[in-house]
């Protein structure tokens, strides 16, 4: 429901500046994911938007309304914490109704809202239980339900899946995606360090690094056209291969990036590079071959299905044309077309 604008926002704790001037617009009803390595300021940025931390300098607007000094409770937000932050001595129902109960809503209205949120998340049968009687996934759903009950215009998620095991994480990810689908007009901001979560959930991703925005764009834009080595290396799994020196020079760049699925194994002598397979990982659906070309790090080549290439054998590799990423010394993409290409 809200369009959020950040204008040159900074946050300083004593001598340390954590957020170093961020300009960002989050569109109404958008699912925006903040992603970055730990310490990049993504959680702090979320806390600035929630109002739990105050902005040091700069301005923040919700639908054009200045929010800098507005109390968290007056911003129309709801937040899902990494630890769930459920009150251990209250039942699921009381946890979900707590904010409203004291907000002066009528009893029947309150109950209707809690029941509706509970049925959306399929936790109707858990309403009388205490948090300690629930599994991790159920607790997370209660925490989300509590946020839904608030009927917010902005939904904030702070690494909500980090405390769940891998299988449950995939399942809950799906439920959050579904929730976003059902609540189309609610703006959602989601913080994670997991680029897979970012890729699968986001309408747009904001990659943060050292308190600054590195790149904002749709998952596809970030994957196909990273505008720095940092984004190129951060988005995508396995990590993009980087080659420099003699491998990069013929392409007119300082560093050459190529994703593992964009390299083909070709008949001996037909490839651009030749190397030795030093290790192979069989994931069932895919094979990752680690090929030593004589560069600093082995190149990872992703081969679909089963491939029978024994370790120690020599292979010839051919990167697919047009899918090479070229970066200059400062890590920015090289724009100038290469004459030879």
């Amino acid at each position: 429901m809200a369009n959020i604008q950040l204008r040159n926002v900074t946050k300083t704790y004593g001598a340390v500046t954590v957020i170093k001037g961020i300009d960002l617009e989050i569109r109404r009803g958008e699912f925006m994911v903040f992603v970055g390595p730990s310490g990049c300021g993504k959680s702090t940025l979320l806390r600035l938007i929630s109002g739990l931390e105050s902005i040091s300098t700069g301005d923040m607007y919700f639908d054009g309304e200045l929010m800098n000094n507005v109390m968290p409770s007056k911003r129309g937000i709801a937040m899902v914490f990494q630890s769930y932050a459920l009150y251990p001595h209250m039942t699921v129902y009381d946890n979900m109704a707590f904010g409203m109960k004291l907000g002066g809503s009528s009893k029947s209205e309150m109950e209707a809202r809690v029941r509706r949120a509970a049925s959306m998340l399929q936790i109707d049968h858990l309403l009388d239980r205490l948090p300690k009687q629930l599994s991790g996934g159920q607790r997370q759903r209660v925490a989300i339900g509590r946020a839904i009950v608030r009927d917010p215009r902005v939904f904030l998620f702070d690494e909500p899946l980090s405390n769940l095991d891998a299988a449950l994480r995939v399942q809950t990810r799906l439920e959050i995606a579904k929730l976003h689908h059902e609540m189309r007009d609610v703006t959602m901001i989601y913080v994670t360090h997991d680029q897979v979560e970012a890729m699968t959930l986001a309408d747009r991703i904001c990659v943060l690094r050292d308190g600054l925005v590195e790149q904002v764009g749709t998952p596809t834009e970030l994957y196909d056209h990273p505008n720095s080595i940092f984004v190129a290396g951060f988005i995508g799994s396995p990590k993009m291969n980087f080659l420099d020196g003699q491998f990069a020079a013929p392409h007119g760049c300082a560093t050459l990036g190529i994703r593992s699925e964009h390299i083909d194994i070709v008949p001996q002598g037909a490839g651009l590079w030749t190397g030795t397979v030093i290790h192979a990982e069989d994931l069932g659906s895919d094979n990752y071959l680690f090929v030593d070309l004589g560069a600093k790090e082995p190149v990872i080549v992703r081969q679909p299905g089963k491939v029978a290439i024994p370790e120690g054998s020599t292979v010839s590799l051919m990167p697919r044309a047009g899918l090479l990423h070229r970066f200059d010394e400062s890590g920015r993409p090289v724009q100038a077309p290469l004459a030879a290409e």
Partner: protein, 326 residues
């Protein structure tokens, strides 16, 4: 045929119980020194004390074995006089004893209540973030760190009717007309004792509760903040219920201490009818009057009264001492 089938299973079962037994035996040997120690420093003296309470032991007879078994005479006995009157004797018929019981219970109730409330207030302040918090946390412990004898003497001087600073202050503020002999007057002696005890012990309560407060995740408060819940309501609906386990344990510690109080009263208000507690009375009988029989009876009753209070408290408060429910 059957035996050959079940034998491996049986052997496995036997092996497992063997392992369990081995563990239990090891645990016993590790515990043995402590059990032995506890027996000598706790169980045996307690047992001796209870035994003495059933004898007529005095300072002269206690070590040469000439004391005699008198049953419950130290507790309660009666004699019918020639004129038909019944004369009751023993600790339970002694008005001094009941005065001491009343003093002890009154002192324990008032001091623990005030210390809990004040301690909680201090803990809430110390739990907030401010500059120099570490220093304040350490400084607040000073009253607790001073030996009771020293603080009792110190306060004795401050409360003195002729030279005391407290009377001087009150006189200068025109709150009183003439100096008050705080520790000597029967109606103010208990107040004096309470003031010193609260001054001394509030920091301890505050620290125990601060530890409890710090266990409450910050997320709980932030979630309430986003919900816009009034801080007073957050305190009663979130902080207090989550602090309850720590609070209950802190209160039980203090209650035990308060019911046994001796040193402060013995130094600050010696021989005052208004403050003499069970411990003080029993000490006077044992050490000053040499009446080991009656003194032991009083000690035993003190032990029983404390036990009753603690059991009631744990039962009514459903205190989770084993930690199994959390």
């Amino acid at each position: 045929m059957t035996t050959t089938v079940t034998a491996p299973g049986l052997r496995a079962a036997r092996q497992e119980t063997g392992l369990q037994q081995q563990r239990a035996r090891a645990a016993f040997w590790f515990l043995a020194p402590m059990l032995l120690m506890l027996f000598f420093v706790a169980a045996w003296p307690l047992f001796r004390s209870i035994m003495f309470s059933f004898t007529d032991a005095t300072a002269n007879t206690i070590f040469n074995g000439q004391s005699e078994w008198v049953g419950f005479d130290n507790y309660l006995t009666w004699r019918v006089r020639d004129n038909g009157d019944i004369r009751w004797r023993g600790v339970l018929a002694d008005p001094d004893w009941w005065n001491a019981v009343w003093n002890t219970v009154r002192f324990a109730f008032v001091s623990v209540t005030l210390e809990t409330v004040l301690g909680l207030l201090v803990a809430l302040v110390l739990n907030a973030e401010f500059k120099g918090r570490g220093f304040v946390r350490a400084a607040i412990l000073i009253p607790w760190a001073i030996p009771t004898i020293v603080s009792a003497r110190m306060w004795g001087w401050m409360l003195n009717d002729q030279f005391g600073i407290i009377n001087d202050l009150l006189l200068q503020l025109n709150l009183i007309d003439s100096p008050i002999a705080w520790t000597a007057r029967p109606d103010t002696a208990m107040i004096a004792v309470l003031i010193v005890d609260i001054w001394k012990t509030t920091p301890f309560m505050a620290l125990l509760m601060l530890a409890g407060l710090q266990m409450i995740p910050r997320d709980m408060y932030e979630s309430a903040k986003i919900d816009g819940i009034h801080p007073v309501k957050v305190f009663f609906r979130v902080t207090l219920p989550l602090l309850r386990p720590a609070l209950m344990v802190a209160v039980i510690f203090r209650l035990l201490d308060a019911l046994r109080i001796f040193d402060l009263i013995y130094v600050l208000t010696p021989r005052s009818e208004g403050t003499v507690t069970m411990s003080v009375l029993s000490y006077l009988n044992l050490q000053q009057f040499g009446d080991y029989g009656e003194g032991s009876a009083q000690s035993t009753l003190l032990f029983l009264i404390i036990a009753v209070f603690v059991v009631l408290y744990i039962w009514l408060g459903r205190v989770d001492l084993s930690g199994e429910r959390s």
